[in-house]
C-alpha cells in the first residue's frame, strides 16, 4: 500500500485539530507550534497544508541531503533518527513541501505517519486530509 495523504485544502476550515492532536501524541500536551503538520492561513485564499507527502514526494530529497544518513525509509515511512541528527538543517532546506522543521533542541522533525495510522486524518471532519488510496 502506498504511504501518503490525499490533501484537499479547499475543504480545510483551518480548525487546527490535526496540529493539536499531532502535538498531543508526540508531547502529551497540545503544542500547536511543534506539530508535524501545519495549516498556514492565507485569507481570503485557501490555506497551505504542509506535511510530508511520503510516496508522493518525488526523489525524497531529504534522504539524500542528510550528511549523516539520519533520514531513512523504514516500512515505507520516511523517518528522522533524532539521535543521529546533527541539526545541520539541510533536510529543511531541500524539502519541497517545507514540511520539515527544527525543534528547540536543534533537531529536525517531521511527520512519521504515526507509524501507519495517522491521528490527524481521524481528526479531520471535513475530509481535507485523508489517507492515500483510503
Amino acid at each position: 500500500m502506498a504511504i501518503g495523504f490525499e490533501i484537499d485544502p479547499q475543504k480545510c476550515t483551518e480548525c487546527e485539530r490535526c496540529m493539536a492532536v499531532c502535538s498531543l501524541l508526540k508531547f502529551q500536551k497540545v503544542l500547536i507550534r511543534q506539530a508535524s503538520i501545519s495549516v498556514e492561513r492565507n485569507w481570503p485564499e485557501i490555506p497551505v497544508i504542509r506535511v510530508c507527502r511520503f510516496d508522493d514526494c518525488e526523489g525524497q530529497p531529504c534522504i539524500t541531503a542528510c550528511p549523516v544518513a539520519a533520514i531513512s525509509k523504514q516500512d515505507g515511512i520516511v523517518r528522522i533518527n533524532r539521535e543521529a541528527c546533527i541539526g545541520c538543517g539541510l533536510c529543511v532546506q531541500v524539502c519541497p513541501e517545507q514540511a520539515i522543521w527544527m525543534d528547540g533542541e536543534n533537531n529536525a522533525y517531521k511527520c512519521d505517519f504515526c507509524g501507519g495510522d495517522p491521528a490527524c486524518v481521524k481528526e479531520c471532519v471535513t475530509g481535507a486530509l485523508s489517507l492515500k488510496g483510503g
Binding site: 487546527e16 485539530r17 493539536a20 508531547f27 502529551q28 497540545v30 503544542l31 507550534r33
Partner: protein, 610 residues
C-alpha cells in the same frame, strides 16, 4: 497535579507600564475560569460607582479550563469590565484563535489597570510583557492594526485591537480579533481609555490536562455527538455548519419574528437576498472554523464592492444580517457586507450600531433628527455608510449617537414612546421581545443589557415551547441564565450548549483540572455569578425600573405573519414578578440576605446602594 490551568494571571499596570504575575488564590479557583474569574475579580476590586472610562476601571481578559485543549467548541475568551455603554458589569466573548494562544502563553488571563501615558501596543510572550509605541497605527482600522502587529512581532502572534471608535471611546466600540469580535458593551472603549491600541500574544508552552486518558475519551464522545447532530437536516447548529448562522433567517421571518424597520415589522420581504443561503449562493464562500471546532459556522465570502474593488469578509453573522439588514430595510447583500466591514474597520459592535442607525432613521422620518449634508433614510446606501462613519469618527450627530441609542433618545426625543430598541442603552440583539416572551424577559433582566446569549431563543423559535405565552418563562429564563453563566466559566460556545447533555461540563472539568464538582453545584455557581453581577449593578444604581422594555415592545407588530402580536405591560410585569420570585429576590429585584447566604456570597451584600 498538572492540569489545564496555569493558575497565573498577569496584572498589567498601563500607567507604570509594568506587569507582574499573580498566583490565582484558592477562593478564585472555585470560580473555575472564564466569566467566573472575570466577574469575581471585577466585583472584588472595582467599585460599582466608578466611571467606566476612568483609570479606575479594569479590563479583564480570561480563558478557561478547556481553552486550548482538544475539547471541541471551546475556542472563546472572555472580557469582563464595567461597561461604558450600559454602566453595568459586562462580559463579552470572541471566538477564533486568541483564547488558545493566551493559554499557550502559560497564563489564565490578564488584568489591565490604570491608563498608559502614551498609546501603546502590548506584547505578551509566554507570560513576558513588553510595551511598544502605537503612534504609527493611531487612527487606523482594526485590520490594518492587526497587520501592523503581525509585521512587528511575527505572523504567528494572535492579536486583539481596537479601531478609531475604540480610540475615541465610542460607547459601542468592540475589541476585534482576526474578524472575531468581543462586540457587546463597549469593551473597545475601555481598552481605548487605557490607551492600549492592541495586544499580541504568543505562547509556546501548550496545554495539558490532569487526566489525559479520561479527557481524550470525553473529547471523542463529544466529537461523535457534535458530528451526529450536525448531520441532522433540521438541527439548527447543523444548518450553521452548512451555511453559517444566517441559515435560520427564513424560519425566523416565517414566524413573524424578524425585526424589521426599527422593529416595527416582524417580517422582511427582502430577507432571501441577504440570508446565509443568499451569501453562499451569490458569493465565493469558504467555511472557517474557530480553534478546534468541527462545526465551522464562520463563512468567508469574497465580493466586489460598489467602487469595483475586490474585497472579502468573514461574515456577516445572522445578528448583523438583522441589525444592518432587515432592521434598516436593507436587502442589498453588498451594502450589508460593506457596512459590516466599515463597522469592523472602525471597531464597532454591528448590533448596537445598527440599532442606533435604525432609530436615527426613524427619528429623521418623524422630523425629530436631521444631519446637514447627510440624508438619514432607511435602506439608503449613503445614509447607512455615512452614519456608521460619523459615529466611528464622532462627527456631527455621530458624536451623540456614539453615546448609545438610549442616551441619544433621552437627549433628543424626551417625549418619545421608547422607539430606540435598547435596554440599559445596549442595542437589541436580533430577536423580537413582543413575539418571543421568554426573549423579552431575558433581554430586560440581563445583567449586561438587551442580551441574547442567555435567552430561550432556540426553544421559542423552533417551536419547542410556545413563544407567545408568558407561562413558565420566568423559571425557564432564570435556569438558562444560570446555566449559561456556568458554562461561561469554561467559556463553552453557546452552540455547544444547545445540544449537549450538561453532565459533560463537570466531567470535562474534572478531567481537565482535577476539580470535582457535580452538575448541581456547577449550575449553582452560575447562579452565584449571576447574583454577584446583580449586586454590582445594584451598586451602580440600577433598579427594577431599569429592567424594562422600550415602549415599542407594547405596540402591535405590523406585518402579515405577525399582525397583532403584542406584549401587554401587565404581562411583562407579571413575568418580572415571577422572575424575581424565582430568583429569591425582593419585588424590587434585590437579592435577599437568605439567597446570598445560600449562595455563599453574603459578604457582598454591602455592594447594594442604600
Amino acid at each position: 497535579m498538572p492540569g489545564s490551568m496555569y493558575d497565573k494571571i498577569l496584572r498589567i499596570d498601563c500607567g507604570r507600564q509594568s506587569a507582574e504575575s499573580w498566583d490565582v488564590p484558592e477562593e478564585l479557583r472555585e470560580y473555575i475560569g472564564g466569566m467566573g474569574y472575570g466577574t469575581k475579580i471585577l466585583v472584588d476590586e472595582v467599585s460599582p460607582s466608578i466611571d467606566p472610562l476612568s483609570s479606575d476601571n479594569k479590563f479583564i481578559l480570561t480563558v478557561g479550563p478547556l481553552t486550548g485543549t482538544m475539547a471541541p467548541m471551546h475556542p472563546h475568551s472572555c472580557i469582563v469590565t464595567k461597561s461604558p455603554l450600559t454602566g453595568t458589569i459586562l462580559n463579552c466573548y470572541s471566538g477564533g484563535f486568541l483564547g488558545a494562544e493566551i493559554k499557550f502563553s502559560g497564563i489564565d488571563g490578564i488584568v489591565l489597570e490604570g491608563r498608559s501615558p502614551d498609546w501603546v501596543i502590548i506584547l505578551i510572550e509566554d507570560g513576558k510583557v513588553s510595551f511598544h509605541n502605537a503612534e504609527l497605527v493611531r487612527g487606523k482600522g482594526t485590520g490594518e492594526t492587526e497587520r501592523y502587529m503581525k509585521n512587528l512581532f511575527g505572523g504567528d502572534v494572535r492579536v486583539i485591537s481596537i479601531g478609531p471608535a475604540g480610540e475615541k471611546e465610542v460607547a459601542m466600540a468592540g475589541v476585534f480579533s482576526e474578524t472575531r469580535t468581543f462586540g457587546r458593551g463597549g469593551a473597545g472603549a475601555v481598552l481605548g481609555s487605557k490607551r492600549v491600541k492592541g495586544i499580541a500574544f504568543r505562547g509556546t508552552r501548550g496545554v495539558e490536562t490532569a487526566r489525559p486518558e479520561e479527557f481524550q475519551r470525553l473529547v471523542e464522545e463529544d466529537m461523535r455527538h457534535i458530528q451526529s447532530f450536525c448531520a441532522e437536516e433540521y438541527n439548527l447548529v447543523g444548518s450553521f455548519s452548512r451555511v453559517g448562522t444566517g441559515s435560520g433567517m427564513g424560519l425566523i421571518n416565517s414566524r413573524g419574528a424578524l425585526a424589521t424597520r426599527n422593529h416595527k415589522f416582524g417580517s422582511f420581504d427582502g430577507y432571501e437576498k441577504i440570508d446565509g443561503f443568499a451569501y453562499s449562493e451569490k458569493f465565493y464562500t469558504r467555511a472557517i472554523s474557530c480553534y478546534g471546532c468541527p462545526v465551522h459556522c464562520g463563512m468567508l465570502h469574497k465580493f466586489r464592492k460598489y467602487d469595483q474593488s475586490d474585497s472579502w469578509l468573514r461574515g456577516p453573522e445572522y445578528e448583523t444580517m438583522f441589525s444592518l439588514g432587515s432592521d434598516l430595510l436593507n436587502d442589498d447583500p453588498i451594502l450589508l457586507a460593506e457596512a459590516h466591514l466599515l463597522c469592523e474597520e472602525y471597531g464597532m459592535d454591528t448590533l448596537t450600531t445598527g440599532i442606533t442607525l435604525a432609530w436615527a432613521f426613524e427619528m429623521a422620518e418623524r422630523g425629530i433628527l436631521r444631519e446637514p449634508g447627510l440624508e438619514l433614510k432607511f435602506g439608503n446606501r449613503d445614509s447607512i455608510l455615512g452614519l456608521i462613519r460619523q459615529i466611528g469618527e464622532r462627527e456631527g450627530i455621530g458624536d451623540l449617537l456614539a453615546r448609545g441609542p438610549g442616551v441619544a433618545e433621552q437627549e433628543i426625543d424626551t417625549g418619545g414612546s421608547g422607539s430606540a430598541m435598547q435596554i440599559k442603552n445596549s442595542g437589541f440583539a436580533a430577536w423580537m421581545p413582543r413575539r418571543m416572551k421568554g426573549v423579552a424577559l431575558a433581554f430586560a433582566t440581563s445583567n449586561r443589557g438587551a442580551c441574547h446569549k442567555r435567552a430561550p431563543i432556540g426553544a421559542e423559535i423552533m417551536g419547542q415551547i410556545d413563544m407567545d405565552t408568558i407561562e413558565g418563562k420566568a423559571v425557564l429564563v432564570k435556569e438558562i441564565q444560570d446555566k449559561v453563566n456556568a458554562v461561561f466559566t469554561l467559556i463553552t460556545c453557546r452552540f455547544h450548549e444547545f445540544d449537549a447533555d450538561p453532565e459533560i461540563y463537570p466531567r470535562y472539568l474534572a478531567a481537565a483540572t482535577g476539580q470535582t464538582i457535580n452538575l448541581k453545584e456547577f449550575l449553582r455557581l452560575g447562579e452565584r455569578i449571576w447574583n454577584l453581577e446583580k449586586l454590582f449593578n445594584l451598586g451602580a444604581g440600577f433598579t427594577r425600573a431599569d429592567d424594562r422594555l422600550p415602549g415599542r415592545c407594547y405596540e402591535p407588530i405590523k406585518g402579515e405573519s405577525s399582525e397583532g402580536a403584542v406584549m401587554k405591560p401587565e404581562q411583562f410585569e407579571t413575568m418580572l414578578d415571577e422572575y424575581y420570585e424565582a430568583r429569591g429576590w425582593t419585588k424590587d429585584g434585590v437579592p435577599t440576605p437568605e439567597k446570598l447566604k445560600e449562595l455563599g456570597i453574603e459578604g457582598y451584600a454591602g455592594l447594594v446602594r442604600r
